[in-house]
Structures are given as C-alpha cells and as structure tokens.
C-alpha cells in the first residue's frame, strides 16, 4: 500500500539489527552534512546508491518515485539561491556566487536524502518501533506509536475505499464537489477511526487486555564486529574526503 513500507519488508537487509542500519546510514548522513560537499557529498551519494541498489535490494523504480517529491523541494528551494533581492542596483539580481551555493546545497541534500531512503527502504517499522523502548522512550508512547502504525493501514484502506466510492458517484468531478467530498471523507474517517478504536478495545479485552499492549520482541544479536563493519564505510568516506582536501 505504501511502496517504501512494502519494499522494506522484502529487503535482504530486513533481518539486520536496526542499530546496524542506523550506524551505516546515520554515519553516511553525517558525512553528507558535515564533510566538504566536494567530494564528500558525491562520495556519500555514490556509496548510499550502490548499497541501496546492490545488497539492500531497493527496487530502482520505487527509489526514484520516492525521491521525486523531496527532490522537487530541494530544486525549488535551491532556485531561490540563484538570485539575490533588494540590492543597491536592482530589486532582483543574479547572485554571482548563487550557482556554487545552490549546487552545494543540492549535492548535500540529495546525498542525505539517499541515506534516509536507504534506511527507510531496508528497515520495516514493525521491527524498529518495538525496540524504541531501548532508547529510553516511555513504553506507553511506544505502544501508541506502534498502534498508530497498525491502525494507519486500516484507516488508509478505509480512506481509499471511501474516496473511490465518492469518485464513482462523481464526487471529484468539479471543484465544488471536491471540497464537499474531501470534507465528508475526513469526517467519516474520523468517526470510523473512533469506532475502530472502540471495537479494537472490545476485541483485545477478549484476549486479556488490561491496559498494556505487551508483545514478545525477539532479540536480534548485535555483535560489536558488525557495528564496526557498518561504521567502516562512513569512516572510509570521511577519510577519503579529508585526505582529498589535504592532498589538494
């Protein structure tokens, strides 16, 4: 239903401990943001892309589709860097340094985006969320977050069917109808979400629910050597970038 979510459960990296992927992607993300954009961002992007399309098994088309919207934001945002306004000569002028700034921002953001996508495409939330208690988050919050994750698919499915039904009755054929339909969809979704919560309450009570949504989370062994290996790639990128700068 959500392409990134579906792909994450099929990723060959699914079974890896989330901490390993966190180290790998987080390290690369730090490289993209902290190192000089040239060649740091480019190297980071290359490593993330190779990892995504190679061992992590991210479908290229799904990756491209997911990247489309944020890339649009990055491009739109960078365009503003090309011009400067309110200068002494004219209201709007081409910023002579604009190109460099825009290119740097684009490179950094695109590389960072790839790191984020690599993590999202290889880490199913079902495996990540129950482990959030280890980070010291209150268990009530973690339970609510996990419930949200489960219920959002039920709600998404409902929303999809209601919208399809409305479209079938020409509910989106004009702008006026559109506003009426979207409003009715939102209201019906709200009512049904609450109804669902009540029914789930009843359903879970039968299974012994008394207020805690405790489940058995299987441990995935986390070997120090694996963490080191996951951290090696970002370190290599950092080392290469820094030595490139020193050598030049």
């Amino acid at each position: 239903m959500l392409p990134i979510d579906v792909a994450a459960y099929r990723s060959p990296w699914r079974q890896l401990h989330p901490a390993l992927k966190g180290t790998f992607c987080g390290g690369l993300l730090a490289c993209a943001l902290l190192l000089p954009a040239w060649p740091g961002a480019v190297l980071t992007a290359a490593v993330a892309l190779v990892a995504a399309l190679g061992p992590a098994g991210v479908p290229p088309r799904a990756l491209a589709r997911a990247a489309w919207v944020p890339l649009g934001f990055i491009a739109t945002g960078s365009i503003t860097l090309l011009v400067s306004v309110g200068g002494p000569d004219s209201m709007v002028a081409v910023d002579p340094n604009g190109w460099r700034r825009a290119a740097e921002v684009c490179a950094r953001a695109a590389a960072a985006l790839l790191c984020q996508l690599l993590f999202a495409f290889s880490t199913p939330l079902a495996e990540l969320l129950p482990r959030l208690t280890r980070l010291g988050l209150p268990s009530a919050l973690v339970e609510i977050v996990a419930l949200m994750y489960r219920m959002l698919f039920v709600a998404l499915d409902t929303a999809h069917r209601v919208a399809t039904g409305q479209a079938g009755r020409l509910g989106y054929a004009s702008r006026r109808a559109w506003i009426r339909s979207a409003g009715a969809l939102g209201a019906s979704l709200f009512i049904r979400s609450y109804d669902r919560a009540r029914r789930m309450q009843r359903g879970l009570e039968c299974r012994g629910y008394t207020g805690d949504l405790t489940v058995l989370v299987e441990e995935i062994p986390l070997r120090p050597a694996a963490v080191l290996a996951a951290g090696a790639a970002p370190l290599a990128v950092a080392a290469t970038t820094i030595s490139y700068g020193v050598l030049l």
Binding site: L2, I4, D5, L29, L33, A67, V69, P70, L71, G72, F73, I74, T76, G77, I79, T80, S84, V85, G86, G87, D95, G98, R101, A109, A110, A112, L113, Q116, A120, L125, P138, A140, L141, I144, V145, L147, M148, R150, M151, L152, V154, A155, L156, A159, A163, I179, R180, A182, G183, A184, G186, A187, L189, F190, I191, S193, A197, M200, T210, D212
Partner: protein, 213 residues
Amino acid sequence: MHIAEGFLPPVHAAAWTAAAAPFVIHGVGSLTRTVRANPDAKLLLGASGAFCFVLSALKIPSVTGSCSHPTGVGLGAVLFRPPVMAALGTVTLLFQALLLAHGGLTTLGANVFSMAVVGPWVAYTVYRLVRLLTASLPETTSLGLAVFCGTALASIGTYSVTSLQLALAFPDAQSGVLGAFAKFGAIFSLTQIPLAIIEGLVTVVIIRLLITA
C-alpha cells in the same frame, strides 16, 4: 511543506530540534499522563494518530506541484488541543519521513516546530479568538468562521515558519534574512495560499458533519 533531509545546515537542524523539544516533551508528558489515568485512551490515541497521518496523506489533486501539505494540523489542534497535537504530530512527521520520504530525519525538529507546534497553536488561538469575537452570531456561522480562519491561518503560519527557517539558513547575499524570507515566501506561496484556503473550506465541511453526526 516539509523541509527535505539534508537541506538545513547541521547547526540549524540541531537548533530547531532543540526549539521543538520542550513542546514535544510536554506533549508526550500529557499523553502518558492521560494514558496512566485512563488506559483505555491508548487505543483512542492510536486511532487519532492514525487519523492525523491519513488526513495528511490525502492527495489534493487540484493543486499540482506542491511538495506536501499540512492538512490536518488545524483540525487536529481543534479536536485534540495543541499539546497532544505536538506529540501526535511529531509521530506523524516521523512516519511521513520513513514511509513517504516527506521531510527528513535531521530536519524533523524544524518540521515539528512549524507543523506540530506553531501550526496547532496558531489554529487553536485563532479558533478561540474568532469564537469569542463572533459569539453574537448564529452558532453555525461562528463555528464555521472560527474553523475556517483557524485552519487557513495555521496553514499559512506553518508555511511562513518554514520560509523563515529556510531564510535563516540561507540569508540573501544582499538583503540578508529578510530578503531571503521574501524569496522563499514568494516561491512557496504559489502553492501554499490556495492550499490554505482549500484546507480551511474542507475542514469546515468536516466539522459541520461531525457536529451533526
């Protein structure tokens, strides 16, 4: 409008995270207190959060080229109040980053600040204010006006904060932060202002249906 991963310099990302943190911590605190007092609220809160996410994922086909939209911020604030919205909104934004690639992880703090803190508070304040000012009008008119103004202004407030965040990160070479704010504001207003009006209208329809249901 979500700031993409990596678009903000690390110092700015960290600063906005710090700025959003107290609100989120306060929200989570009130959430856990609610749950402790009434364990049954857990399922309702889960459903509310799911509702917020789905509302924000609704596509608005008439507006193309918009990065994303804060639909639901205003409605959520009126229905659940701003502190709870800070917590639910943060989770929604995290899910959007991981499930839809809308908004990033390092920019989560900045996005939370604009969409889960400022947006809800603007919506709630404006809603209360308009309700007070229009108390003499018929109930449905007053409610409709308050909801419309609250939601539309929350949407515009959100996008203004985002523009400010970008302007602070990328000040204009000539005119500094103010000029940059004008640039970002102008370029995103093309999509965000019509969106704010539509969102206001849709939310009025939602609230009207909810009070008659």
